[in-house]
Symmetry: C3
Subunit: 361 residues, 3 copies
């Protein structure tokens, strides 16, 4: 009758195993407000229903990163309670808008397992999907974590490392936002207060986002609790005092939220995130750090059959204690094993939708 | 024309006095979200409308402890602004679900008074009730506080110590949650992600809840402000610097909220709190403390006429800076004047509803 | 293709220039909840829909100061990103109630410009208006800021200092709240728990509000983020470490919110703010400060054609680290260049609506 919720260890996972994650969550306007209070998010589509209507939606959808973090939190009790490290994300696809009142539920499939040679840990790859109350897929992603074994001598599941897409396929990108007319586009730009459209961004261009955000323990814990994420290192200062980090670790998803919010300046017309190709938390973030962000345009992509909205593939670096006024060689900072890399806490390769000038010009 | 809101002193209370508490509160989905952000609550019934529907409710009700704290906050300006200590609760009964949009209003009756022999303070016992906008009672409770006298020489009201129930009577326990079928039960367990039902808990069993939560000043103040509780010791660091504690005192209701949230792991299928038999704040909690919780099953109770849902009487100890990995003799910690007791900040005796296996098996 | 959002410098403003501010905001019950959690606001009209109905409204409107702060935040990216100091407000008029679901949008007109003799900075005066989704004006105000020049040698726009009203004109004051009967008034007072009406306040009377509130960095940042205000000094500890203040500056609007919430005790029957005649942030507030408030009644005003509700012109001083138990000569503290002034962080001259006894007596 032991009700010891220790989570799964590496030897508990099986290739092909399907895990239904507990505790679905009804998301509300309250979550949207708390999210804005904790991140300062200003993305227009999520800020104003008047803006969402211009894009053909009934009302404003919830912020993509908020949805991602809530969905991610659902997978923690089964996937990563015994994780040593959250190594990366891939193939993150936002497939449908989420609105206040929707109830989100998640499941994961184990798509890869590889024990480490020390037999103390192993890599677990899961593909997770998040559905709304109507059973429609709103989000899916792959992540891989290094998970402890409870018993180094235990026999582990069959080794398999999945091959993952470097970039989500163009035909899988869909945007729920539709601009019906040049008037709607003009009005959208009036609401955003900015004129830079898809056409105005160039591959290679770097945007230095001006704002910085200092992280407080109360803030990152509140965000992580909002997501009902129960991973101990974010909450338990006593436990973490004896860890190598020595203090609470900021949940990586909060770092993404903060950087996404910082990226607003210079990207005001972007509507939503369509996909995340890959993300890695290069270094830990702790309370007291001040985060900044810089973004490079990697690619400009036309969406199939769409002339109103295009896509930009972006690489955003989250930087710790290195403000907009400080020089940074983006290329060097984006490469492993360079000195410039030391400032980087987040390296995110993702795709946003943004209106094209075609309707207007 | 003095508008000095000093609150009531011991000599201001009269036995039988009825106090209508000011400032009713419309509760919303926003309050539910802020509550989750501040506590990490995951209780299924309050998390997902899909789960609430399985239990025969239209949509998710607000968390019981959120409702309790808002109601409690309403009584503070009249009852405990001059309290030296909040000594205990008894006969707390949750009688009806509260939903977003409801407006809560409270009144108290003074049911006991006893001046202390030093004539500087006295005990005040009040029975408080909280009604919704339709006038239906949603919650009632007794609490007793030690209150200062403004003037030691003042004549105090007649002495009377009420006799209180050690445990809320079985016939007073009602659960608004109803499971209609074994399919509904099965689906509920799928949503919770856990299989432990009423039948799987045994009197005497102790559950060690794994998570810990470090308290920040910003967090406990935000929670206490959410409840519109205006008790000075929680907010005024300058005032508290010259108190024996030396710093802000965490509102006891926030400690209950945090411990209730920590209790989720191992109690996932519990739907809601039906009653609190008694609660005491054994020691003060301050920012920087890390809270943990352990729960012992005291009793298993069948609800009259109900085979779908039963009740568990639980005793939860809130522990300060004493994690799940540390040994604890629950029996010793639950008894006054033992060394193990030094870790305890909260001692709560309460009753939760939880589905029975009868429908399924 | 530079997407450098540096904001406007003094030489970028032109007299008569109209600025449409970006990023409208749909306000919700979630914002109301977060606001209560961050400020402890208890104003009855904004707390309970039952109370709002007594005043002839369908449901509770959003707190005036919440609306002001969201609207103000919209103007920051265009008006004050390069401000040295936010010097004052005037002619703030709350013209229509704002409800959950409304979408707010702002524009400003430059009504005054004056370069300073050092040619490094200049004063910018703007009149800003905030409209809801129906295009109805809900709020307007004037503020003036000292703004840096990007280039001291740059030619600045024509000098003009607008003449501003010392006090909003009586005929411009309107209250959306209407009491239909003496029964409604009686019920309102039951809900507020207080009996002091318009008739019970006297010019010259000083109210010492008892509660104090210690400011945390997490709190003021969350509030300022809720308003989507992107002014760097509130968020970037690293940047501020090298400023004369040495640390993050609390957003002045949060100080107003806190003081307004503290003013509840002693002013319980006030319904809403009709106007702010003037406000100045006398000294900076930083985390760790404990705020208190005292209010003097300046004037009693009858509203044209209204016998149910009158207006009080109030002067509230926000005090730093100087509690209700400490002596304060209000008159001296309200005057510049006095020693008592050193405690003052906020000096606010404003008008509230409050029921009159006429219906009842």
């Amino acid at each position: 009758m032991q009700k010891d919720r220790r989570g799964n260890y590496f030897e508990d996972f099986q290739l092909g195993q399907v895990i239904q994650h507990g505790t679905p969550r009804t998301v509300t306007e309250g979550d949207a407000s708390v999210y804005i209070a904790l991140t300062g998010a200003r993305q227009l589509l999520h800020s104003a229903s008047t803006a969402a209507k211009l894009m053909g939606l009934d009302r404003r959808p919830l912020d993509d990163v908020l949805v991602f973090n809530i969905a991610f939190g659902k997978t923690v009790p089964d996937v990563s309670l015994n994780a040593v490290a959250n190594l990366g994300y891939a193939e993150v696809r936002f497939t449908e808008s989420v609105f206040a009142g929707d109830t989100l539920r998640c499941e994961s499939v184990v798509i890869g397992l590889k024990e480490n040679s020390n037999r103390k840990t192993g890599l677990v790859y899961v593909r997770s999907t998040c559905c709304n109350q109507a059973g429609r897929n709103v989000l899916s992603w792959v992540r891989w974590v290094m998970v402890n074994k409870a018993d180094p001598a235990a026999k582990a599941g069959g080794a398999h490392v999945p091959s993952l897409q470097v970039s989500v396929r163009l035909e899988d990108l869909t945007s729920a936002c539709r601009l019906e007319s040049s008037d709607a586009l003009e009005e959208w730009c009036e609401l955003s207060g900015a004129n830079d459209l898809w056409d105005d961004y160039s591959p290679g261009e770097v945007i230095v986002h001006p704002l910085g955000m200092t992280i407080e323990d109360a803030d990152h814990m509140s965000a992580t609790r909002l997501y009902q994420n129960n991973s101990k290192p974010h909450f338990d200062a006593l436990h973490m005092a004896s860890s190598p980090l020595g203090k609470r670790l900021v949940y990586g998803g909060h770092v993404i939220s903060i950087c996404r919010a910082l990226c607003y300046d210079g990207m005001e017309n972007a509507t939503s995130i369509l996909a995340i190709n890959g993300g890695s938390h290069v270094a830990p973030t702790v309370a007291g750090d001040t985060l900044y962000a810089r973004t490079q345009v990697l690619e400009k992509v036309k969406l199939p059959g769409r002339s109103d909205v295009g896509a930009l593939r972006l690489r955003t670096l989250g930087l710790r204690n290195h403000g907009a006024d400080k020089p940074l060689d983006f290329h060097a900072a984006a490469q492993a094993n360079t000195q410039q890399r030391t400032h980087v806490v987040l390296d995110l390769d993702y795709v946003v939708a943004i209106p094209r000038a075609s309707l207007a010009r």
